[in-house]
Every structure is written in C-alpha cells, then in structure tokens.
Symmetry: C2
Subunit: 271 residues, 2 copies
C-alpha cells in the first residue's frame, strides 16, 4: 500500500485509528474457547465490528508466538482475512525485529512478502544494515522504534548521545539510509510533548502512536504536537477496544469504544 | 540449565563451541528436499554429527519464521529433539526480541517455557521493563545484545552516550536490573579488541560471541581478551560449519569443521 492511499483512507473514513489485535486467551470471552480456532474467531469478530471505524490493524506477534503453531496459524488466517475482505486496511506486524543484514532479510520476507503485511515494526539498536533489508521492499513500510511508550524508554532513548537524545540521533541517522522514504516511526503517546521536536526532524513521516488509552496517553495532546498536513498519525488502541467487554457482547462493546475514538478523530480532522 | 552446569560441560567436552542452526532451503543439500521435513532432517543430521564437539546450539528464529508454519514446526521438532536426546546441550533462541513489559512476558513464555529453550537473545533499546520479564524465569538466561558483529554496530552502539560508549552504558545499566545474574551478553568477534573493556565491566558473565569464521573474527583474539576463570565464552559458528559441504557428505564435513574449532578450543583451555 502506498502512503498516498493510506492518507486517502484516513480522509475517507475520518479516522486514523489503528486497532491492536493482541489476543490473550485468558481475556477473551469464554464462549469463544469452544471454537475450533478461538484466536481467529475473536479477531474476525473484532474486525467485522470495527473495520469501518479504523484504517489499520496491528497484531503484536508476541501474542501469537506465545501459542506456538496454533498461534501462527491464527495469525496467518487473520492476515489472509484482512487481505481478502478488507484490502483497504493498512496492516502492521508489530514484531520489533532487527538482526544482521542477511537475517533481517529473512524477517522481511516472512512478514512483508509471505504473510503480506503492509508494514513491520523494527528495532534500531543494530543500525543501518539491520534495517535496510526491510526498507528495500517496494510499497512496504518499516516502522522504526524511536521513542517507546514504556517506562524503560527513559533508560537509553532519552539519554544524550553525542549531544542529542538517542531517539533524535536514531531519527536523524535513519533519514540517511537507503529507501528511507519507506520509514515510519513509533512514538509513544505517553511522551506527547516530545512529538513537537520529532516533527521538526521528520515533518512528513507517518508516526505510529501506541499508548493512548490503557497506557494513559491523550489523543488531543498527540494531535496537537504530532499532526502534519497529510495527518501523519496512526493512533493505536489495543486493550481499550478489544477487551471493552469480556462477555458475549464483546464485539458490540468494541464497536462503541472504537466509535468514541473515531468521533474524536473526526472532530479533530474537520476543525 | 544452571551456569555451573554449562561450565562443567565446557570442561568435560573441552569446547565452548556454539553451532548456529540457520537453515536456508536454498543452501542445504538437494537430496534433503525430498524429506517430509527438510529443515528438521538437516538439523537432525547436523546435531547427530556435531553434538559431541559443541556445548550449545543456536537456531536463529528468522530462518524458521521465513518458512511460516512449517518453519515453526521444524523449530519445535529441533528443540524437542535436543531436549530429549541431548539435554546436556545449552539451547539459545536467537530471537533478538524486546517489547513493553506485558508483551515481553509473552515472548519469554513462548521461547523459555513452551519451547523450553535455555536462553534467548534480547535487544536493549526499550530498557529495563522490556528485559526483566525474561530475567524473571529461574535457571533460564537472557543474552542481551551489547556490541553486535555487523557494520551497523558502529551507527549507535559505539557512540558516546553521556560520556561512554552506548554499549558500555547498556552493560552497566543492565547490571542494576532485577535478576541480572541471569544475564549473558552478545559481543561480536569482529570487535575482539573491545572485549578487554567489556570484561572490566562484567568480569563473571558469559559472553556469546558470533562472527568467528564467515564474518571474519579470530578465535585467538576473542579468547585473549574475553576469557575468564569460568571460561565465560560461547563462540558461535553457523555457516562455516553447517554449510561446509553442499552435497551428501554435508554432515561429515560439518563434523570436520567443528573438530577444527574444538581442537583449537581444547588447546586454549589446556594451555
């Protein structure tokens, strides 16, 4: 999917909502456990109930790997369902991968080509040759971890590296990499005040913003500092939507929670 | 597996060799492609041919994810085969994972509990709460990326963060984390001269050293600067051993290549 197409979808749906599909069998409604594939059954119901309100879905791969083979099977079914039924939706493999060059190529192949995700999250610690294999694939997007939403973000990311915060140094360095136009960035909503300075470094890039909702970030703050002319934001909510109810009405509850966010986004986009 | 048991195995086998099981279907002998599970068939043959010469195996998970479901199946079979036939072998999931706390717990569960690996490689960028869930599991080991063997290591890892190289800062910070006695560290062999300073910071920890062989690192240099009283080294070779021959004699060729390294290690251990 091209960036331009994603922007058109955002305008069409009045939404820049991304929904995190982080399926935990201990949290999904009990009646689904009798399904042949409870994980996929849950995802399908969530997708059917929310696809008109969001522009992206983001399965965090850890939640699938935790269930081994059946987790991978459910992941494959979920991405295939999205590709077939909702090809207009932007898909993100939240995998946070990164390895030496020939190995990163393998991850790129697995997630962007074979599974067919539109994008993947990637960790920067190993530098240029660990990220460029992801960037090399046309019309696919590499979402680099810059400033994350967890407490550990302050351990290294905000420390000064050669006179500037490590996350800014990563941002600036990444702009020099080959095919850097295929980069997007992860910036946690819990650090909204940082978005202003990030926008000075990457005025045109998309930012994937987790941490709105369960982790405490504010949508208004994120938009105030992070929005650009092409919107440039994908705001993610996972637990707040998919676990809005733990009983049989979970899909309707998810619709309602997604609607609240989409209406707030619509107001912001049209003001 | 305890660290003490690993040290005993090293002494018993006169070897601190780790063999990387990075299976690429384009590189394995053609006759194996007719097997029901060529990836596992290859791994089984390599393990049968080399287990007496090494103390650890390290499948890089990217090579398995690249083959989707059948890749995961082969990974499960490989780790099960090792657990059953060779429980004395230390197993490393080379996964380079790391995510927010509740998500890292999922990866820890997947690799250290369900699959039953003795250890996993983890990336440090997201800080303390992204690593501690791995450290919490008893008698399992978290191998933190510190200084990697690829060219991109010089993009961030060797830059000065608050007056010291980022990799040293990561090392020192990691020592303050809960259950830090379960930490080991990845230090690339291509940077052997850095090992001296690393040993000053973590005199007692095990270092996993990739990059000997195909990537150009020297075993002598690594041992000169990196060895401690408990040996403290696992030196990895992947391609140099497993692809020593691309024909029917691949297993014998792997034995020979592993033997060369093991004999060098024996000489170093007994001098």
């Amino acid at each position: 999917m091209t960036k331009q197409y994603l922007i058109e979808q955002i305008r069409k749906k009045d939404s820049f909502l991304c929904i995190g599909l982080d399926v935990d069998l201990d949290k999904i409604p009990e009646h689904l456990l009798q399904e042949e594939d409870p994980i996929f059954a849950f995802n399908k119901a969530i997708i059917d109930a929310t696809h008109h309100l969001c522009v992206a879905y983001k399965p965090n791969i850890a939640f699938y790997e935790a269930y081994g083979l059946r987790g991978w099977q459910a992941l494959e079914k979920t991405i295939n369902y999205l590709s077939e039924k909702h090809p207009e939706i932007f898909t993100i493999a939240d995998a946070k991968r990164g390895d030496i060059g020939n190995t990163s190529s393998r991850y790129a192949m697995a997630f962007l080509e074979d599974l067919g995700f539109d994008s993947i999250t990637v960790a920067p610690y190993m530098g240029k040759d660990s990220v460029e294999p992801f960037l090399a694939i046309e019309n696919k997007h590499t979402i680099l971890l810059v400033l994350t939403s967890n407490p550990g973000a302050f351990d290294f990311q905000t420390r000064l590296l050669e006179g500037k915060e490590l996350y800014k140094y990563v941002l600036e360095t990444s702009k020099t990499w080959k095919n850097s136009e295929n980069l997007m960035y992860v910036v946690g909503a819990t650090q909204a005040e940082y978005l202003k300075e990030i926008r000075q470094i990457v005025p045109n890039s998309f930012l994937l913003v987790p941490g709105v909702g369960a982790q405490g970030g504010s949508l208004q703050e994120v938009c105030k500092y992070g929005m650009n002319k092409g919107v440039g934001l994908l705001v993610n909510s996972s637990r707040g939507i998919i676990y809005a109810s733990g009983t049989e009405d979970f899909a309707e509850a998810a619709t309602k929670k997604a609607e609240v966010l989409q209406l707030q986004m619509k107001a912001i986009l049209n003001r």
